[in-house]
């Protein structure tokens, strides 16, 4: 039983179909990269998987003890966060919010979870710093630590390296790979970066009029990759 299975999924907004006929499944420990050109529906798919949008038709089901609320999410940063006065500790701890339910305050176990994720992301020295004063890479690590507070099983990452410099980008990819290999966390990532996707991912979902889903090796042999790279060269 896969952790996440999408069958004949059609996604979009009320009266606008963005993409249809998506079929794919994600098993525990997979590293899935979602590729596709701008406007192909990658972000819409992500929102649908997170339950922020309802699928227009088709179904999404979860298995292996994963429930929808246990999916960690690394969003693209919003305008609000650029001048929000919040310490690293407050941001990471807010990842435990869902576990609180109606309980107003965090308990010791949740604080401990936040602390251990801060250490895992090497943020210990930044714990009391203000989130908005950190560098781009540090901010992404904070948001990753927050996402880890919300999940032990699956992370959804929305272009986690956009706006980061090459060195920090590589570190970010390594961190994500470590979480995938060592902690066994399933990764689903939206990416623009084809070469990294081919380096790190185990599976590829290419969102298009005729979508592709399969192992990375199969994608590399397929015509999709050729089409994608040649289109890129034309643009450049």
């Amino acid at each position: 039983m896969p952790q996440l299975q999408c069958t004949n999924l059609t996604i979009g907004y009320e009266n606008l179909i963005v993409t249809k006929n998506l079929n794919f499944e994600v098993n525990k420990g997979d590293y899935l990269c979602i590729l596709g050109h701008n406007g192909s529906g990658k972000s819409t798919l992500m929102k649908t998987l997170l339950g922020l949008l309802k699928p227009l038709s088709g179904s999404i089901s979860t298995g292996e003890g994963l429930s929808f609320n246990e999916i960690g999410y690394l969003p693209q940063q919003t305008v609000v966060q650029k001048d929000f006065p919040a310490s690293v500790w407050e941001v990471v701890l807010s990842g435990c919010q869902a576990q609180c339910g109606f309980r107003p305050f965090y308990n010791a176990k949740e604080k401990q979870l936040a602390q251990s994720n801060i250490e895992k992301m090497q943020l210990t020295e930044l714990k009391n710093r203000c989130f908005r004063e950190l560098s781009g890479g540090q901010q992404q690590r904070v948001l990753l630590a927050r996402a880890l507070c919300a999940t032990k099983q699956m992370l959804l990452l929305d272009e986690p390296v956009s706006g980061l410099d090459p060195k920090v980008t590589r570190e970010m990819y390594e961190t994500i790979r470590r979480l995938n290999k060592k902690e066994g966390i399933t990764i689903i990532m939206i990416s623009h970066d084809i070469s990294s996707a081919l380096t790190y991912a185990s599976h590829i979902l290419y969102v298009d009029d005729e979508p592709f889903f399969g192992k990375r090796e199969d994608f590399e042999k397929s015509d999709y990759l050729k089409a994608l790279t040649s289109a890129k060269e034309e643009n450049a």
């Binding site: 997170l50 339950g51 922020l52 929808f68 609320n69 999916i71 960690g72 999410y73 969003p75 919003t78 609000v80 966060q81 929000f84 006065p85 919040a86 310490s87 500790w89 407050e90 941001v91 807010s94 990842g95 919010q97 869902a98 609180c100 107003p104 305050f105 965090y106 009391n128 710093r129 203000c130 004063e133 927050r146 996402a147 919300a150 999940t151 959804l156």
Partner: protein, 283 residues
């Protein structure tokens, strides 16, 4: 000097202390929720909703509710707050435009109604009081004082209980929703809190000046502090201190309460901005 002492002798009366208590409670509530309002980019919502409350209170004056016009203003304002905040995402008319629409619309209708059905002989004074607050907060009736106190305590309790949820929902609504927090419920609670504060604060500073009580403490605190908890605590303290100074000054110099408090807020904001620059420069 003697003149000032004479004026301070007014503090021997209970009703003055009631006014002080109400002023402090209102300032405290507004400052607390103000942090969220500023961060959610809703600074104008105070203006919009307060004019709704103004409109509702003219209606109340016409139908002549016997007990207290809060019976009409509170539900009307809560309704508008919920509509404005919750429709935000789906609405065809976007945030700032709908706030502007409701705010001028309500102001116009309210004033029109007051002209058509004047509640008393002195229309200008009535309008002035609703827009800029009681010239003397000391004229608050006992039932107003009790209403203010009860509602303020409820708001403060709600804020403390939902503090962590409010933070999570304000910082990143999508993340909270995706991980299973009931964001629409908490947005609803935030909307209700804002509406209650506005109705209560109308007594103190009037409907045109409410935004000042909401946003100045938060903005001032954000000049200096860098995390949510300190900003909230500092904003609350700032609001209370400014309200106290403003109340005292208005008694000493015979100035209108609302605008005096706002002027004190402005001075406080300037001081905090300078202080914030100095703190930054030293680092």
């Amino acid at each position: 000097m003697n003149e000032f002492l004479d004026k301070l002798s007014i503090f021997q009366y209970d009703f003055v202390w009631y006014a002080v208590i109400v002023g402090v409670l209102i300032a405290l509530c507004s400052a607390l929720i103000g942090v969220t309002i500023v961060l959610k980019r809703l600074s104008f919502i105070g203006d919009g909703l307060s004019r709704v409350a103004f409109c509702a209170s003219s209606v109340a004056a016409i139908v002549n509710v016997i007990t207290n016009d809060i019976v009409i203003t509170l539900p009307a304002t809560i309704l508008c707050a919920v509509l404005l905040l919750n429709a935000g995402e789906k609405a065809k008319i976007k945030g700032d435009a709908s706030v502007a629409m409701i705010s001028v619309g309500a102001l116009a209708i309210g004033y029109l109604l007051m002209n058509l059905f004047p509640p008393s002989n002195n229309l200008a004074a009535d309008v002035c009081t609703t827009l800029f607050g009681s010239t003397q907060i000391l004229m608050l009736t006992q039932s107003q004082v009790i209403w203010c106190a009860v509602l303020s305590v409820i708001v403060i309790a709600l804020f403390v209980i939902f503090y962590n949820k409010i933070f999570a929902v304000t910082f990143d609504e999508n993340f909270s929703r995706a991980t299973g927090t009931r964001t629409s419920l908490y947005n609803l609670i935030i909307a209700v809190i804002i509406a209650v504060i506005i109705v209560v604060a109308m007594n103190l500073v009037g409907s045109l000046l409410i935004s000042a009580l909401l946003i100045f403490p938060a903005l001032s605190a954000m000049r200096i502090f860098k995390n949510f908890k300190s900003v909230t605590v500092c904003a609350a303290a700032f609001g209370v201190v400014c309200a106290l100074i403003g109340l005292l000054a208005s008694i000493l110099f015979d100035t209108p309460v609302g605008s005096t408090i706002v002027v004190v807020d402005i001075i406080g904001f300037i001081l905090f901005s300078i202080l914030g620059r100095l703190v930054c420069a030293r680092r």
